[in-house]
């Protein structure tokens, strides 16, 4: 696929490496024996990773959970990091058929002014949080890099850790946002199946699959400290997509050993009344299998659990696989200080406040961590 004007191409073969291995994956070939063997390993091979993502691993979820808890505790102890997202704009130039923000949907669009952003930041900082994730829809026109840079500068005044979840940028643009005060970048590939990717991203810069794939590399080359990986599970074959996510992070870590790596696990929920009809449906059981597989394959990587999942699920996966949890979340544009200025991208399932999530973490014998990063 041809890059659009202004999109930077970098010298990397990671896409081909990941694609070749995903192409070879036939997860139906795995048996319970393969899963047991994988779970007996100290360090899982790529082959083992395929096994624990396969349907054959479904009966071994309990064993996987036990092993994941031990790995999480070894690498992260009792620590659970807290953060919250702040949506500063929901304008979008992409037509992604599955997304509420897409450019053809007639939703209320909004963009916070810098003064409004600062008021939101102040309101969030009052909750005690020290880490924030700034989000925009994907519109360079409405929410340009300079606008985001100004938002980052403001955020850095109130928070020790500033992450961004915005449209993919070129290396020099990531370097600019890093200089403004941001150190962590989240970009999700949605699906690693490139033909499916084209089918669901009909218009806009997001249509260019490889430009998105290489966003994390450009971010690290631009000086960012850490990057997050993820697929929108359920958009295509979730097992293959989760396999690809893990490999992307695995090869990435080999190439950039200093980079801090994390995963997020957004999913498309199965249709109500359609449960069990589709092998690609991602129910909680499948979602948990993916999270546990990420933990066991790359035990040092952080895993974030979204407010899209219900409280009961979130409370149990922290410390088991997840190491970071959002709290006090609003997913409309703004909404922490004043009324929301734009519609929400999706509905959240866990509206608990920072204090409530804090108490929940303590009640589970875990330690809420507000800051785990020192900007130098």
């Amino acid at each position: 696929m041809t890059y659009q004007q202004g999109m930077e191409a970098i010298d990397s073969d990671m896409l081909e490496k990941v694609a070749a291995m995903v192409e070879q994956l036939d997860y139906h070939q795995y048996t319970g024996h393969d899963v047991k063997r994988a779970l007996a390993q100290d360090r899982l091979s790529i082959e083992d990773y395929g096994a624990i993502l396969s349907p054959a691993a479904a009966p071994f979820l309990e064993e996987m959970a036990a092993k994941a808890i031990a790995a999480t505790r070894r690498h992260f102890g009792n620590s659970i990091q807290l953060f919250t997202p702040l949506y500063i704009s929901n304008y979008c130039e992409n037509h992604c058929v599955y997304c509420g923000f897409n450019c053809h949907n007639r939703i209320n669009r909004g963009k916070l002014t810098l003064a409004e952003i600062e008021e939101e930041l102040k309101a969030i900082a009052k909750t005690g949080l020290k880490e924030i994730l700034l989000l925009t829809g994907e519109s360079r026109y409405q929410s340009g890099v300079e606008y985001i840079g100004e938002a980052v500068k403001l955020a850095a005044k109130y928070f020790s850790t500033v992450g961004i979840e915005i449209y993919p940028l070129n290396t020099d643009e990531y370097a600019y946002l890093h200089a403004c005060g941001s150190d962590f970048v989240s970009v999700y590939q949605e699906t690693y199946n490139s033909s499916k990717y084209e089918q669901v991203h009909l218009e806009g810069p997001k249509r260019i699959y490889p430009y998105r794939f290489y966003a994390q590399e450009r971010a690290i080359r631009g000086g960012m400290r850490g990057v997050a990986f993820g697929a929108l599970l359920g958009l295509d074959d979730f097992r293959k997509d989760a396999f690809a996510v893990g490999l992307h992070a695995y090869f990435f870590q080999q190439k950039y050993p200093h980079a801090e790596i994390s995963f997020s696990t957004p999913r498309l929920r199965p249709y109500i009344n359609n449960a069990g009809n589709n092998a690609n449906d991602v129910h909680e059981r499948q979602l948990l299998q993916v999270m546990l597989a990420y933990r066991l394959f790359l035990p040092f990587a952080g895993i974030t659990i979204s407010t899209r999942e219900r409280a009961g699920f979130r409370d149990h996966v922290i410390g088991m696989a997840a190491t970071k949890i959002s709290a006090g979340v609003r997913v409309g544009v703004g909404g922490h200080n004043e009324a929301e200025k734009g519609d929400e991208q999706f509905e959240i399932a866990d509206p608990r406040s920072v204090e409530q999530v804090h108490q929940m973490i303590l009640s589970r014998g875990l330690q809420p961590v507000y800051t785990d990063y020192l900007r130098l």
């Binding site: 102890g77 050993p257 200093h258 130098l376």
Partner: protein, 261 residues
């Protein structure tokens, strides 16, 4: 063999004397357990990651460490000498004292120390009056360079951080104990009290422990177990271990009895 540092068998680091030879890492605990672990382990030195210290905010570790305990701020998060130096200076500015546990790590997967950058940072920090305790991969040449650079101790890893695998690098640590005239403190990998005891028997000056205690079923009891293991290992070292025969018994008639008097 190294001579004893003093009659009371204190651990002396940078001119400061300690009775306890168990140093506590704090990064993996629930903070409300910190005090109990310090008490049960009779700990006198506690490390803290400056990046975790939520100064003025919620769950600030400094509020959980009792007065009288020596703070050992670490430079975790530093990827090169320059970053480590800046973290150490920040720690001193906020009142954490002159001790610094130097960690320079470029590898986010195994958290193995970068010996080269560690030497560079040690040189700068020692010159600035810090009591530098560098975490390192046990290499004799590097240990000598660290000593020359002004390190107060040498802190070799026993195994990768958090692995609880024990003394995987035992033979190399033994070389450091033999050759380096500074306290050798095993910094990472100790997973069981028996491993701490084994390290102390070898003559290391102290052990540092975090994951093994933090992930125990009964954290306070495990802290107490480590205290006893460290003390037992130290006593064994001081008393001089008995001979252990390997592979064969001793011949009852001397093999060299045929020699003429």
């Amino acid at each position: 063999m190294k001579t004893m540092t003093n009659h009371n068998d204190q651990l002396v680091i940078g001119g400061h004397a300690f009775q306890s030879r168990l140093i506590l890492g704090s990064g993996k605990f629930s903070l409300d357990m910190t005090q109990a672990v310090i008490e049960h382990g009779a700990v006198e030195i506690v490390t803290l990651a400056l990046r975790r210290a939520n100064i003025g905010g919620q769950e600030n570790i400094l509020e959980y460490i009792p007065k009288g305990i020596t703070l050992l701020p670490n430079t975790s998060g530093a990827r090169n000498a320059e970053e480590a130096v800046r973290i150490a200076r920040l720690a001193r500015e906020i009142g954490c004292g002159n001790f610094v546990k130097l960690e320079v790590i470029q590898d986010a997967k195994y958290l193995l120390p970068d010996n080269y950058e560690t030497i560079k940072a040690t040189e700068i920090l020692a010159r600035e009056g810090f009591i530098v305790m560098p975490y390192m991969y046990p290499d004799l040449n590097v240990a000598r360079s660290l000593a020359d650079a002004g390190a107060a101790t040498i802190m070799p890893l026993g195994a990768p951080i958090g692995s609880n695998k024990g003394l995987c690098t035992k033979d190399f640590i033994a070389i450091l104990v033999e050759e380096i005239d500074l306290p050798i403190i095993v910094d990472a990998g100790i997973g069981r009290p028996s491993q701490a005891c084994e390290a102390m028997e070898m003559g290391v000056a102290a052990v540092m422990c975090n994951t093994a205690i933090a992930t125990a079923g009964n954290i306070a009891l495990m802290a107490s177990a480590f205290k006893q293991a460290v003390e037992a290992g130290r006593a064994a070292y001081l008393s001089g271990l008995g001979r252990v025969l390997h592979g064969q018994a001793e011949a009852s008639s001397p093999l060299t009895g045929f020699l003429e008097e």
